[in-house]
């Protein structure tokens, strides 16, 4: 476990937003975070399940967790700017 995992994650509320806005909100938040920081995005667009992981893959960030509950999709991302 890295020390960064003890740091409070950054939360992004992307509920009610349709694609690609959840990705844009995640992208803009990640730009302000450092490698090792975590981002938690909450979305109601089912497309976010595919798009946020796709955005993470092409930009080198890691999806730690995807949880679906009460029509919400909660995606946790670990930021990696080192590539």
């Amino acid at each position: 476990m890295s020390a960064d995992q003890h740091k409070e994650p950054c939360y992004v509320d992307a509920r009610r937003l349709l694609c690609p806005l959840p990705v844009i909100r995640a992208q803009d938040a990640v730009a302000k975070l450092s490698t090792g920081d975590r981002l938690v995005v909450t979305s109601t667009d089912p497309g976010a399940k595919a798009d946020i992981p796709a955005w993470c893959r092409i930009n080198g960030h890691e999806v730690l967790d995807i949880v679906e509950q009460d029509n919400e999709i909660i995606i946790t991302v670990q930021v990696n700017h080192e590539q």
Binding site: R15, R16, L18, C19, P20, L21, V23, I24, Q27, T44, D45, P46, G47, K49, A50, D51, A54, W55, R57, I58, N59, N71
Partner: protein, 348 residues
């Protein structure tokens, strides 16, 4: 050591921009993608809201294309800036409310700004001479290059041999002979090139990737403009134009009635922005009220119409609640509207 040249590509998610990137990558150029979100982009899973479309692929095509090509994609929110392009297009509209020429110029201009900020060398697009009636004509493609400030930094790899030589070609960063001379509306050359590159799965949306080229959407947008004091709009306005059935009962009153469960669920999120109506005695559609009731008759007309879209449509009475955006609720009982009483002119 030879300097690694870098290009940014306008990525729509369609085949042409995908091919344009691949052609340039083949020449050893580092390419990254940029995708502009105007609010009017057609995306497969905008329709994911609707349950009937749930068998369709739920992916953002621009992201998918970037991943296939192994490039980074920068998605830029231009919703606010884009309003001026849509409301005041210097070159006018196309067949619907599509300001294609101004739109392309705007996007290339944004890309020019982006390459300066990120130290990239040039811009590529998937444009093809003669492919589209407004922005991709032989006469208008130089207009885009000039008015955007892209000038000879703007490379269209699929039609490069039909166009004047660009700086990357003159400087030897690109071999003009390895670029293409596609023109016209036929898609055959693109399909052949896709096959050559081994691309089997790609999006080819009819009419491009913009809702503004869609006739039904354009009618709803024009109705909104016509019935408001100003043509200005917010993102929520243009999203709502994609949702539900729209009934214009009066200039000051429009009903948006959900077509199915997915839309009803999505529209629930707008209950604190709009007055809403929903049946309580029977399952049925959620209605958002854009405007106000100026009389009890208008209110009852709206209630009866919403009752028509409930499972109580054949019952003598349906109970419904009118909920104000502030949360106050009042219940009513009404006879559902008969099909013959629905004025065909109401449906936008």
């Amino acid at each position: 050591m030879k300097q690694q040249r870098k290009a940014v590509a306008l990525i729509s998610g369609g085949l042409d921009s995908m091919l344009a990137v691949k052609v340039i990558q083949e020449q050893g150029i580092h390419v990254e993608g940029i995708n502009f979100f105007t609010g009017f982009c057609v995306e497969g899973h905008t329709h994911a809201v609707r349950k009937k479309h749930q068998d369709k692929q739920k992916r953002n095509n621009a992201l998918w294309v970037a991943e296939q090509l192994g490039i980074k994609l920068h998605i830029v929110d231009v919703v606010e800036e884009y309003k001026d392009i849509l409301l005041n297009p210097a070159h006018g509209y196309g067949k619907n409310v599509n300001p294609c020429l101004d739109c392309k110029t705007f996007m290339v201009k944004k890309a020019v700004q982006w390459i300066k900020e990120h130290n990239f060398d040039f811009i590529i697009t998937g444009e093809v001479v003669g492919q589209r009636p407004m922005s991709q004509r032989r006469e208008t493609m130089p207009v885009v290059a000039k008015e955007s400030g892209g000038n000879d930094l703007l490379v269209r790899p699929l039609s490069a041999k039909q166009l004047p030589e660009t700086l990357p070609e003159r400087e030897g960063w690109l071999d003009r002979e390895k670029l293409y001379d596609f023109s016209g509306r036929t898609r055959k050359p693109q399909m052949a090139l896709a096959a050559k590159f081994g691309f089997k799965d790609y999006a080819q949306p009819a009419g491009g990737c913009c809702m503004l080229t869609d006739e039904n959407y354009a009618i709803k947008l024009q109705d909104m403009w016509h019935n408001r004091p100003s043509r200005d709009y917010e993102l929520d306005d243009i999203i709502m134009l994609k949702m539900g059935r729209h009934f214009r009962l009066a200039p000051h009153l429009k009903l948006i009635i959900g077509r199915e469960e997915g839309e009803n669920r999505f529209m629930q999120g707008y209950k604190n922005q709009f007055m809403s109506i929903y049946p309580t005695s029977h399952p049925g559609a959620l209605c958002l009220v854009d405007g106000e009731f100026k009389s009890d008759e208008e209110r009852d007309q709206a209630l009866a119409l919403v009752a028509r879209y409930s499972q109580g449509k054949n019952d003598p009475q349906v109970k419904l609640v009118i909920r104000q955006s502030t949360g106050e609720e009042q219940e009513y009982s009404i006879s559902p509207m008969l099909p013959d009483d629905i004025n065909k002119d109401w449906l936008i």
